[in-house]
Symmetry: C2
Subunit: 426 residues, 2 copies
């Protein structure tokens, strides 16, 4: 097939008619398919049935230290749950607080605490004229929504193959005291799937922030979420790098089992230096009496240890990998050589990131929607939902069964072509 960009106007007009016909046919099918959010599929969730036998009427409900997990207490989590999350986050249990069911909630509250109380004695952000966050783009829409709600100014930082543009990051962080944070998904990044290089992590750890209360918001959501395609990414552990660099307080790490056990019913954790955690602990001891220790116990007894978790993720990958393979295969079959877009081929995580011709993303998402395929809103991967080139689309292939995914990809690739031809015809 000829590149669209090399087609004559007549060829494009002809292609447009063909595509329009196919699109009308597709619409006629009345499909209702969803590739919008990074949700596990029902098949994946069904795999977890044994989780519901982990605690049963015959169980004992005491932690290894003799804590009755059915009663109040243990604000920072039972030790074995801290150990499990520590192993998942590659830190020590003393550097962990186990919270409730949502790492997003921890991130939100971490920002909220800084707004209301400052960080380790700094001025509460709500008293400052201006607070800024750096936002590697494309990135995770829910991060941007948090900083937007708090009225924090967001600054786009290009995200490349090795991570964010660290020259820009250093320039901002080391010079502007209004810059208080940066959102990072350092491994199998949402949506581009990249993993930050060792050099990037080291440059992060060696930042010399102008603001004493600047922190790196390190959302390692996909730390163990490999596709097990033989090419697992490795990420340097940042807290220990920060300690080596003499900056132990520089980072908040977030993680959860939302996509290990159950979204909404997993356990989430915060990891940071002991000084940072002491500050958090002092505040949360007023916010709650404690988090759900029975759910901590379920997780610990279900997985036994981090090896159990890895084995478990391999089973997930058996379901997820064919879906990613299908996305890459179909995009290639339909779009290779047309010069209408590029896409990622990640080794883990939950997304494929697609970049269309400039100015086409909204149109593609709109066309898909009209034909019954819901995608993440165009622009969502940028602060304020404003993709400056209107080109990035996040594809979330994990939720639909594979036959529905195939149908959705037929529609998607068709819409990409249609929007591209429209654009080239001007």
């Amino acid at each position: 097939m000829k590149k669209y960009s090399e087609m004559s106007k007549e060829e494009l007009e002809k292609e447009l008619q063909t595509l329009k016909g196919a699109y009308e046919d597709a619409k006629g099918k009345g499909l209702k398919l969803n590739m919008a959010r990074g949700l596990p599929s029902e098949e994946q969730l069904d795999m977890e049935a044994d989780f519901f036998n982990t605690l049963n009427p015959q169980s004992d409900f005491f932690s290894e230290a003799g804590i009755d997990c059915r009663n109040y207490g243990e604000l920072t989590g039972i030790h074995e749950a801290r150990q499990l999350m520590a192993d998942m986050m590659e830190v020590s249990p003393e550097e962990i607080i186990v919270f409730g069911n949502s790492s997003l909630n921890i991130m939100y509250d971490t920002v909220a605490r800084s707004m209301m109380f400052g960080v380790l004695g700094s001025t509460p952000w709500c008293r400052l004229d201006k607070v800024k966050f750096l936002c590697p783009v494309p990135g995770y829409d829910r991060h941007f929504a948090i900083t937007e709600q708090f009225g924090i100014e967001m600054i786009n930082i290009p995200l490349g193959e090795d991570g964010p543009d660290m020259d820009m990051v250093e320039e901002y962080v080391n010079n502007d005291p209004a810059v208080k944070g940066i959102w990072c998904v350092p491994k199998y990044s949402n949506p581009t799937g990249v993993t930050y290089s060792d050099e990037t992590v080291r440059r992060f750890a060696n930042l010399k922030p102008a603001a004493e209360d600047f922190r790196i918001y390190w959302d390692n959501a996909y730390t163990i979420h490999h596709l097990y395609n033989g090419k697992e990414d490795k990420l340097l552990e940042i807290l220990s790098e920060c300690k080596k660099a003499g900056n132990p307080n520089l980072v908040w790490k977030f993680c959860s089992t939302s996509k290990v056990t159950f979204p909404g019913s997993g356990i989430a954790a915060l990891s940071a230096s002991e000084e940072n955690l002491q500050y958090v602990k002092k505040l949360i001891t007023i916010q709650t009496i404690g988090y759900d220790k029975l759910n901590q116990l379920r997780h610990v007894r279900y997985f036994k240890n981090i090896e159990g978790m890895h084995e478990h993720m391999k089973k997930h990958a058996k379901i997820i990998r064919p879906k990613f393979d299908l996305v890459i295969k179909r995009l290639g079959e339909e779009l290779d050589g047309l010069d209408v877009g590029t896409w990622t081929d990640p080794n883990g995580g939950y997304f494929v990131s697609f970049n269309s011709l400039e100015g086409c993303a909204k149109r593609i998402v709109g066309l898909c929607k009209e034909a019954g395929v819901t995608l993440t809103g165009a622009g969502a991967t940028y602060p304020y939902k404003k993709d400056p080139t209107d080109s990035n689309i996040r594809i979330a292939p994990t939720f639909p069964p594979i036959n529905e995914l195939a149908q959705a990809l037929d529609i998607f690739t068709l819409c990409v072509k249609l929007a591209s031809v429209e654009k080239l015809l001007g």
Copy 2:
């Protein structure tokens, strides 16, 4: 026995020697007993074993509306969980958001939201010079800790048999725009056990606050926690009274199953007008993707409906009531006629409130501690931990097994006598 206040100095000296001897004997026993917090006992928790079979590997995990409770979604809770909490809180499901495991966390976040974002368009409290809360006393220490953490000025309001002194409440609320809230435990109040009268509730509902963002913080923690002694208290439902009075937005209601199923592993809910809830929903949709729906499902399937919950609470009462009976019996046997204190005899809740002679509470709690009996800290039932007369002590009899409770009460009554004699001797 003669009243201590009518004893001569010589009689008191003699009594002091006797008590001191008994106290030294008691200390020698090396006891370690705890009446500090309102915790269910292990015996109570053991009763819930079947809860752990509610969801098992053979269960289906879909809500009545077909929501997969193992996946993301349903921010405000599955319908049947909203219905259950609505029945518990005597409102409609549309007036409910089901949150996570802790009503205290909902209260904290409700105050935090007001600090950061104001309420329904009002100025965020963090931008105001002064924010005040009314605090009926004695009250719940964790309420006061929240407002203290936010730097909110707390004003003591005497709590009588019918509820807070409503003349004072009206005076403050209707005239001072800095007064933004009042903490209430309206039924089986913590610690005094009183239930607000119908007139009190109606006067609350008819407040005409000077501040548009004034709210009543109605922590109905013990709504179904009767002792089933044949004298159940009734509380008028406040949200409907507020609606009747044309003030639908006046109240936040809080509730949880922490002392119905498991502290830390229950479900908690917020009830308010639809306008208030819309405001909350708009903010929490950024804070989290959703709360633990599997735990909602467990609760719904375990209880089936509110009648199931009431039946369940009757079983709890069979364990708890004898403990309260023992407290009342032993206080009467040891202290009646001595004129050294008064105490409550509630029909529900988790506490007995004891008032010693003025200036004796700290001494009593200290003496108890030295003899191995931990009580809630003296002063804890007042804002800033300052009991102006140093006389209120909260007794939490639910946690210890009944034989340990008996031992603890021996020590407690002994320490009351000892501190009282010391005080009278000057």
